[in-house]
């Protein structure tokens, strides 16, 4: 008898769970109508927050790039172009920027975009109570750092002035040549004041209250799928060609690839390493440039890395091209310097190309010679060293390859590998509890300074314990200079010093390999990783 009851109970639970599962609503795959142009992209990880002031990641930035627009937008050459602002004036000393917001700039609910919305958004990002990670992106503005640190409490002392409804005047602490690039960054996007004030914590969590001023607006957001439709109030709506944009949030890259190959996606956010070659031969792969460097850091306080000859020998002895061809793939470029390709120099040409390379890849002769000079001919007597990396298959295989190259090329046989979980690894790096450690750096803004200012003495990101007064002085001058020619010259000099001392061993420059349908055109992917679909279309 009791068994019968059990069975009945089970059947009831089963039917209930089916009902619950069925309640999810419409199916999220695109109902591809023959007239509708639908583009489906996978952003990867579900966003931590879509609030432009609080977010920090690339999936978040990509979602924001569809629904918000800053005063400026960066073009393919990283040059700021008018966006929500139709024009601006810069004072001669480059400390006062006056922006004129477009008359026809509107929010997705039809309200006009005003200078007040920008001022509100920026004050909000700087308000210490909101504890925004990226508040420092606004530190160029007068009194911003002091306000964010709580030294002053009156936001009216900030260098942000609403002149009239459509005019915003910004006063800077010191001349900042990249301020117009910063205004294209998500931390400086405007927010719809009334909506945010009504629900400061939760406004960005629901499609109904996610009011933006960009090319698209969010129509629906549930179950790891976000659907956008064109924003009919966008000033530049004529450039928007697609009728529906669908973002999925699939983290697993193999699932993502299956969906792409199964025609459930038009573009992916990455591509699995093991499949790169096949995808390339099948013409499904596109390799975008990406502003980042993969490198190793040396702990210059520990022997034998206190000797620059040892650091150089280790850096010269690895064959980066072989590592890229056989292991990391994806069209990565050997890093023979630290600042990657793609950043504009003073005349608009490429900073890296002008700076050239600092050493030859796989220069084993010189490496051997340096190692002998340091007292370890053919690796004899070389102490035991350890490579630290955060637990991951891809970092492991790079470390193993480098271990093997040091053994083959320099005769250093006692290299051990250690992996640690991400948080533990970051802690070890901070505390200097390592000898050689893996590192990666992705630029924050399109200027070489984002790769160079981290190596000043005692900088929180400089875990090498290396420092040079001359280097620090150069970076300080660059920070306070508004003369592009002077800045770039000094930054080349700073990189010379860095490479002369080699506290780091650059390995490769990142790229961003993704799968994309051949008929999907007009997608813009920035050097910093975010994707913009405002002018995308299907052929």
């Amino acid at each position: 008898m009791h068994i019968k009851k059990l069975v009945v109970a089970l059947v009831v639970v089963l039917s209930m769970s089916l009902v619950i599962a069925g309640c999810g609503g419409d199916k999220p795959e695109a109902q591809v109508d023959s007239q509708e142009m639908v583009v489906r992209y996978n952003v990867g990880t579900p966003p931590e927050t879509i609030d432009p002031a609080l977010s920090t990641g690339i999936p978040e930035a990509t979602i924001q790039a569809q629904i918000f627009e800053g005063l400026t937008r960066l073009d393919e050459n990283q040059i700021p172009q008018p966006a929500a602002a139709e024009s601006w004036e810069v004072s001669d000393d480059k400390t006062v920027y006056t922006f004129h917001i477009r008359k026809d700039a509107k929010w997705s609910n039809g309200d006009p975009v005003t200078a007040e919305d920008f001022a509100f958004a920026w004050e909000r990002a700087l308000n210490p109570a909101n504890a925004a990670d990226y508040a420092y992106q606004l530190y160029n503005i007068k009194n911003a750092a002091a306000y964010n640190k709580g030294e002053i409490t009156d936001p009216s002392q900030l260098g942000i002035e609403v002149v009239d409804e459509k005019t915003l005047k910004v006063t800077l602490e010191s001349p900042a040549v990249h301020f117009l690039s910063l205004t294209a960054f998500h931390t400086l996007y405007p927010v719809h004041k009334a909506t945010v004030e009504a629900d400061p914590e939760g406004w960005s969590l629901s499609a109904d209250t996610l009011i933006g001023n960009g090319a698209f607006k969010v129509e629906k957001w549930e179950n790891n799928v976000m659907e956008f439709v064109p924003n009919e109030n966008y000033w530049n709506k004529d450039v928007v060609k697609i009728d529906r944009l669908i973002f999925t949030m699939v983290e697993n890259e193999n699932t993502e690839l299956t969906m792409f190959e199964n025609d459930e996606l038009d573009m992916t956010h990455t591509a699995p390493l093991a499949e790169l070659e096949r995808l390339e031969t099948e013409g499904k792969l596109k390799i975008y440039p990406y502003l980042g460097t993969y490198y190793y850091i040396f702990n210059t306080q520990k022997k034998p890395f206190d000797d620059v000859r040892v650091r150089k020998a280790l850096a010269l002895a690895i064959d980066r091209q072989a590592l890229i061809d056989n292991v990391v793939k994806g069209g990565r470029k050997p890093a023979l310097a630290f600042v990657p390709y793609g950043l504009p120099d003073m005349d608009g040409s490429d900073f890296r190309e002008n700076g050239g390379t600092y050493y030859k890849d796989a220069d084993i002769e010189t490496a051997k010679q340096l190692l002998a000079e340091a007292g370890y001919p053919d690796g004899k007597g070389f102490p035991e060293i350890e490579i630290l990396y955060n637990t991951s298959e891809s970092h492991k295989i790079v470390a193993e390859t480098i271990q093997e190259m040091w053994k083959q090329n320099l005769g250093i046989t006692n290299v051990t590998l250690t992996n640690q979980e991400w948080g533990v690894y970051l802690n070890s790096r901070d505390e200097g509890d390592f000898m050689v450690a893996r590192a990666g750096w992705i630029g924050d803004y399109p200027d070489p300074l984002t790769f160079l200012d981290m190596w000043t003495t005692g900088n929180g990101n400089n875990n090498t314990f290396w420092g040079s007064e001359q280097y620090d002085r150069l970076i300080e001058t660059v920070r306070n200079s508004s003369d592009q020619k002077e800045r770039m010259t000094l930054m080349h000099q700073a990189e010379d010093i860095l490479m002369e001392n080699m506290p780091i061993m650059p390995i490769y420059f990142y790229t961003d390999p993704v799968c994309i349908k051949p008929n999907l055109k007009g997608v813009k992917k920035s050097l910093l990783g975010e994707v913009d679909f405002s002018e995308a279309y299907l052929e």
């Binding site: 009791h2 068994i3 609030d51 999925t248 199964n262």
Partner: protein, 309 residues
């Protein structure tokens, strides 16, 4: 009965307090913290964040505050998912994981129990070998392999179902099968061995000698007694499966609770670590209590609350 249940609840609360305390201090011992990354935050910004989340209070005060809030079922804000509380995360993720898990448990029971019974009754013959062959595979093949194979054949090759995501009954089938593989196989084996044990008992021989029909012997005397180990297993299984599987949810991009059990630890998202641990513990303790109560109903040998009366 009431007295027994009250006593059990009191013990459960004690167990929960121990779990909360141990988890709270263990998680703070792990090196690293919630607001670190390859890019360091400027110290002043770090200070703002720590102030906002009250991380610079003395640890014992933080612990006391956590306990106080916990009593009101306020699990605090997530550090990683800004603007969301841990309550929000559980409220959003749990129904999805539970729906999927519930179906997976149904499959396990509806397939596992009959398979175990049949193989016990046909011991040493082909149905037994067949069932045990599949249950050995079920136990040894991890869910992610099953999930990947299902996705490859059913979605990619045959185009029968969408590869991933959530929202319609079609999306449930593959993850539910992947999730039920191991418990189905385990239940089948458990049921088989326990059936065999019962079938060897004297009272079964007595029943046979009395000339009871075979179906009555199997149904009333064998299955009823043999199902007890399955019920025991069902308690922890339900708690584990309803709270979601990291692997299956990751592969099928299901927005359930499972991922938070793993990612919260990588992120050092302290409130989420605590929240999901407490939630899981409550579920586990409750289900174990239900299982114990169920024994009394199913098994005449077990008397939970008569001893003193």
């Amino acid at each position: 009965m009431t007295q027994y249940i009250l006593r059990r609840i009191a013990v459960s609360l004690l167990v929960l307090w121990v779990i909360v305390t141990v988890t709270f201090f263990l998680m703070r011992i792990i090196p690293g913290g919630p607001f670190q990354g390859e890019k360091k935050l400027p110290p002043e910004i770090r200070k703002n964040i720590e102030e906002r989340y009250k991380l610079n209070d003395p640890l014992l005060k933080q612990y006391g505050d956590y306990l106080t809030n916990l009593i009101h079922w306020d699990l605090g804000p997530s550090f990683k998912y800004k603007g969301q509380t841990v309550n929000d995360i559980i409220e959003k993720g749990f129904p999805i994981s539970a729906a999927l898990g519930g179906i997976a448990i149904m499959i396990s029971l509806l397939v596992g129990i009959p398979a175990g019974i049949i193989s016990a009754l046909r011991q040493g013959r082909w149905p037994d070998y067949l069932a045990m062959f599949f249950s050995t595979i079920g136990i040894s093949v991890p869910s992610f392999i099953l999930a990947t194979l299902l996705m490859y054949f059913i979605s990619y090759k045959l185009h029968l179902l969408p590869s991933a995501l959530w929202g319609s009954p079609k999306h449930v089938i593959m993850p539910a099968i992947a999730l039920s593989g191991l418990p189905t196989a385990f239940i089948a084996r458990l049921m088989r061995s326990s059936m065999l044990e019962v079938l060897g008992q004297d009272y079964i021989k007595t029943a046979r000698a009395k000339g009871l029909p075979k179906i009555v012997i199997i149904y009333r005397h064998t299955i009823k007694n043999a199902i007890i180990p399955v019920v025991t297993y069902l308690g922890p299984l339900t708690a584990a499966i309803l709270t979601g599987s990291f692997v299956v949810e990751n592969i099928f991009a299901i927005p359930g609770l499972g991922k938070h059990f793993v990612t919260s630890i990588y992120n050092r998202d302290y409130t989420v670590i605590m929240g999901v641990t407490v939630f899981y513990s409550i579920l586990l303790v409750t289900l174990n209590l239900l299982v114990d109560l169920a024994y009394a109903v199913i098994d005449p040998r077990i008397k939970l609350f008569e001893a003193k009366e």
